[in-house]
Amino acid sequence: QQPDPLITEVQTWASATGEGVDATPYGLPIEFEKDVVRRNVPWLTADPISSINFTPIHALDGTITPQGCAFERHHSGAIELRKEDYRLMINGLVDTPLVFTYADLERFPRENHVYFCECAANTGMEWAGAQLNGVQFTHGMIHNMEYSGVPLRTLLEEAGLEAAGDLADKWIYVEGADASSNGRSIPMEKALDDVLVAFKANGEALRMEHGYPVRLVVPGWEGNMWVKWLRRIEVLDGPVESREETSKYTDVLEDGTARKWTWVMDAKSVITSPSPQAPITHGPGALVITGLAWSGHGRITRVDVSKDGGITWETARLGTTQGDSKALTRFYLDTEWAGEEWLLQARAMDDTGYVQPTKAQLRAMRGENSIYHNNCIQTWHVKANGEAENVEVS
């Protein structure tokens, strides 16, 4: 072992001065991290305006997703809408149809909550078989942020729900201000439960691509319902059955019938490292296996990891004392790697007792023609050289 010149010689950064405080009024990641970016899969859609990109979850840790690398999905592109030009209307079966400005929204009592937002199509390309070599692409249609906003219940009550009568069979319809408007129907029970009208994420204003200035947050339910640039909420006596809840975001079963209103995102987990984009580069010895788990039903209570493709399992350590409800939970398995081949899997459990199924279990239930709601156990083939590949196992 030679003395390390990085230690024995005076380095430039230890002698010369660095950048001053006014160099970057709004900071960006240091240049050495410039590969930690959202990525697109060009063949997936007809054009990048109505498309999706993927969070680089292979390169992140903890649970909070920075807005700048949180996946985007637009149906007619991300729009620039000034707070001053923002209006939110509540109409339909309410006592007084109302219009709120952005400034009005900031005068209601507000709350902070951390929630995951997962596209219903996350892992959808893997239904038919292992297809994409990277956890960013197989599982990156997800992000997890702390939202600040007003409970939707507060706004609905401000407009008054006497006119709606019995709320048990009532719905709301929500739509955005962009050209797609992306309307979705939501049962009143959920609307009055934990839905949030949010204007901040991770402490700062929503980024344009996440719906600036205001988006809907629908905890535990598929991302398409989290309408961005939210402009209208209508109280109705039935669902609208709009494009995004009939022709899309429905799940074709084996016999050709389709499930609709499949809103909840079931419990799911994935190992983010090692993975195809995060190979083992340090050789044999101590190794941290880590990943993410989440459930639209509630809290993650346990994550198990298998190194042999599901023959034996060991329980991982949760990175937070206990997962937040409907939020990402980080897990770790602090282990040893001797250079052997592994078939790495993770399996999540939530506080309803739901255990993440295998791909075979899902296919037996739904066939192979579904796109959405693929929450199967993922397998990475870790090779002797430390590289990992997306595989499917028996």
């Binding site: 410039k34 590969d35 990525r39 899969v41 063949w43 054009d47 305006i49 109505s50 592109g77 109409n91 339909g92 149809p97 219009v99 709120f100 009005d104 005068r107 209601f108 078989g129 292992a130 297809q131 994409l132 009550e157 401000e158 407009a159 008054g160 319809y173 739509e175 050209a179 797609s180 408007s181 309307g183 209508e234 609208v240 059955e241 709009s242 009939t246 022709s247 499930r259 609709k260 209103w261 499949t262 909840v264 195809p276 198990d304 599901g310 034996t312 399992w313 399996r347 309803t352 007792g353 255990v355 199924p357 279990q361 023609n369 590949e389 997306n390 595989v391 499917e392 196992v393 028996s394």
Partner: protein
């Protein structure tokens, strides 16, 4: 009671925004349109992406056919084969289409387009006229093809069981590998391209630099951002191909409709034959209001409102001359 925030919504405001149409036809405006008219309107506004016969261009949605494929491998889900409610078609066309010019169609045009989509699916004959009066009578082919989410009954009981920890199966074999298909985007190339562009070292960047000698690089950069609105249909730069719109390499300063492999609308061909050239003035006028300047164009884009955007995008187009 309440916080006293917000103000009452005016009837005109509700009428302007509350335009959703529901399965029973609630929300439909009065109007009518027949298949024949629909074919013309569809050709003008929809065919550039969805094809003359609703068969879909490139990766854009197919709207017709696919009947009885829903139980097959790779089902073809079209308006005809899959959509359960006619109201959804009307609502979506009216609210979100044409892509790039949403909410510019008249009610009668929407009725006509919907009638033509039904015709292209062989669900009506060519005499058919759709109106607010007969709308509710129409039953879609797959109206009964949906069930409400039943995971709580069919799936959850099976999977809410104590998980196996040891000897869970006898053996494990790899049955499929992603590397066989190899459809993962090449991230290495991404990054190389990114850093090349930043350093200005690649050949492409060098060529561009020469061409851009007379152009304001900041304006070109701004134009690149504006051009995102165009990228749905137009490619530009090295390897650009015709998509639903022609590629735009060398468009500035050249004759109108000069790309021999692209099927232009008649009005463009006529303008080209008359010797119209894409100089800055012509392009600026076209980009401000495409359909006013070039009546009959298939380009489904409402136009750029800001003069600065037009100037910037023209600079960007110029940077791909020659």
């Amino acid at each position: 009671d309440g916080y006293g925030l917000g103000r009452p919504a005016l009837p005109e405001e509700i009428a302007a925004w509350d335009i959703d149409v529901r399965p029973g036809g609630q929300g439909l405006p009065e109007g009518r349109g027949d298949v024949f008219t629909g074919e013309e309107v569809f050709a003008d506004y929809c065919a550039s992406c969805h094809g003359d016969f609703a068969e879909g261009v490139d990766n854009w949605p197919v709207l017709a056919g696919g009947f009885d494929t829903l139980g097959d491998k790779d089902p073809v889900k079209t308006v005809g084969s899959y959509w359960p409610h006619l109201s959804t078609v009307w609502d979506y066309v009216n609210r979100s289409m044409p892509f790039g010019s949403a909410q510019t169609l008249e009610a009668d045009e929407v009725y006509a387009i919907v009638a033509y989509i039904l015709y292209s699916n062989d669900l009506v004959d060519d005499e058919f006229e759709l109106s607010h009066e007969n709308f509710a009578e129409f039953e879609m082919y797959n109206a009964d093809g949906f069930i409400v989410d039943d995971r709580a009954e069919t799936e959850y009981p099976q999977w809410r069981v104590a998980p196996c920890m040891q000897d869970c199966k006898e053996s494990v074999e790899i049955t499929m590998r992603a590397s066989v298909l190899d459809v993962t985007p090449d991230q290495g190339e991404d990054e190389a391209a990114m850093s090349d562009a930043a350093d200005g070292t690649s050949d492409a960047a060098a060529v561009t630099e020469v061409a851009m000698a007379a152009l304001d690089p900041e304006l070109v950069d701004a134009g690149e951002t504006v051009f995102r609105k165009c990228r749905a249909c137009h490619q530009i730069g090295e390897g650009a191909k015709n998509k639903s719109g022609p590629h735009l390499n060398g468009v500035m300063g050249g004759p109108v409709a000069s790309n021999p492999d692209f099927k232009y609308s008649d009005v463009f061909l006529a303008a080209g034959a008359d010797g119209l050239v894409w100089d800055e003035a012509a392009m600026a006028e076209f980009l401000a209001k495409p359909r006013a300047y070039m009546k009959g164009t298939k380009m489904g884009f409402a136009g750029l409102k800001k003069e600065a955007d037009i100037e910037a995008v023209i600079a960007y187009l110029k940077s791909f001359d020659g």
